[in-house]
Symmetry: C2
Subunit: 341 residues, 2 copies
Amino acid sequence: MRSVANENVTIKDVAKRAGVSPSTVSRVIADHPRISPDTKEKVRSIMAELGYYPNAIARSLVNQTSNSIGLIRSRLTEENFANPFFPAVIQGISSVAHKHRLSLVLSTSKTFEQEDEECLTLLRQRRVDGVILLASHRDDQLIPRLSQDGFPFVLIGRYEGSEEINWVNNDNIADAKQAVAYLLEKGHRQVACLDGDPRYVVSSDRLLGYREAFLARGLQVPEGLVENSEFSVQGGYGATQRLLDRRASFSAIFAVDDLVAIGAMRALQERGVKVGRDVAVVGFNDTILGSCVQPALTSVNVPIYELGQIAVQILTSQIYGSGVYPQHEMLPASLVIRDSA
Amino acid sequence: MRSVANENVTIKDVAKRAGVSPSTVSRVIADHPRISPDTKEKVRSIMAELGYYPNAIARSLVNQTSNSIGLIRSRLTEENFANPFFPAVIQGISSVAHKHRLSLVLSTSKTFEQEDEECLTLLRQRRVDGVILLASHRDDQLIPRLSQDGFPFVLIGRYEGSEEINWVNNDNIADAKQAVAYLLEKGHRQVACLDGDPRYVVSSDRLLGYREAFLARGLQVPEGLVENSEFSVQGGYGATQRLLDRRASFSAIFAVDDLVAIGAMRALQERGVKVGRDVAVVGFNDTILGSCVQPALTSVNVPIYELGQIAVQILTSQIYGSGVYPQHEMLPASLVIRDSA
DNA sequence: TGTTCTTCTGGCAAGGCTTTCATCTAAATT
DNA sequence: AATTTAGATGAAAGCCTTGCCAGAAGAACA
């Protein structure tokens, strides 16, 4: 093991060298008005000379704040990580966190239970001042516990039956409805729906929107055209194969995620079905993947970056500011029409 | 602002309630052998009853370790973030960090300079015990400073002219060489190279490998077939357009990244060139994108997940263990042949 | 039986670094 | 001479860990 070039310069060292007390140095750092310009300058030059940097840990201890926020990914790391949604939302989060000089702590768990535990531990041990939940799922255990314990958090997503928490989201029901309505308008009636993991609220919301699109037009929701899958290419591929295998009749597919839609396209193409001509496909999230495939994927563009940004804004206003509680924000999404539908 | 349900239970509270001293409680937490089983049990039940969780900050202060490591992304956040490389490497990092109970702190900067500063600050302020650098670039300012100051770090990548630091990497030169050799073997001679941002060492390494493949066969490196671009679809698209516009003659393209390769494919297809038949395309990194495009992309599979895992192993052995210094590891990559070449 | 030595348990207090309230001194003002 | 003020200080607080010490009980010994 190597030795750290001991930069263990403390406030005391600076104080001693400058011939003042530690409290004076502290006030110089804070640019306190009661310190004379002379002293300030002197102390600052000593700080520079000695290479002094205030110890964030000690600071946190006395200030009772860690100046960091946790990112609780989504309880199915492996899966969601492959999704370009994740990098995009982190970018948004980063940008605002940086402005507030907040550190970002990532959760590292792989299962729902582990992640719930990790999140609570992060908060209880005061490692983070609050957390951003990147998704909610059915029978979410974590959200009520966070609420009960009064830990600051904000959800990117929707939580069944509670307006009592901070959240930012797009209106998945309405957005899905809009996408399906577009297909109906184009004359499609047998629209299949490739649903995501039903444990996620986002999946069921989009499925709901799919249904509502039919009902709003006075149409019946077609039978047997919903297939569950995971949020992955494999998932969409398998689900579409199942549809095809049981000779379901459909002229369009609405997938709750781009990855799923791409899997569907692959399955279709393998069976010689022309996507866009024989069968229309619509995805969700409008990730970079959609523009990579042939034909380019029609998809619902969700302002992912902004979701991340606003999540941090809400969270910081709760933790450090005096924002009202709770705060909600619903961001608009829009259908991006390309060649697949 | 909401009030945190004050779980401000400290070690003192537990001690008082249990009728012992704080030191005893501390030793119970550490499962110190000097504490009798009876006392341990009693203290533990009180801890559970009061909902006590040790304050990580205080602990860090006394232990002089933050139990967290920083992830310095790569100095061009925006760009690299879009790349599926990033989620994959984070997953690998997470998995090992979790085992060691380390927190992961993400850098949030957007420029090289900002990121260098942020990284140093993270370390100097003792927020993290060490850092993982996700890429190196030419004239890297950060690496020598980290070395000088003796801060523990590990580089995922290569740093020009220094075996003095910890790193884990794939052999980009050899791997690129192998990929291009495959094209040469197939009879291609006019192989174009779409290089990435030349500021990254990884780009120039792969370009080097491209050259070496020719030389190893006693062939001349073709003139005027190298185009610089960014690590993005747009970059590859533009670079290929430039090649086409100046009527460069080539029968194959070697791209230093899948994103770039996909951009190339798009440009080719738009001009009616059949990828895989008229022009072969080979990518790098074998990300999920490669299997999404038509035709499926032949690409160099880099063990990204493992790179992340090993990076953490090396780093922790440096920080907390007594590993030798420095440590290197070169991981093997392999060409995955699909339909584009 | 009385004395000394061990062995167990657990307490005391210092240390880690910064911030801030209450003070204090010396100079300035009234 | 009395009061205010600028400038700086001391000490406590924030929470936990750990080296060292002490008391008690049991063991060994004379």
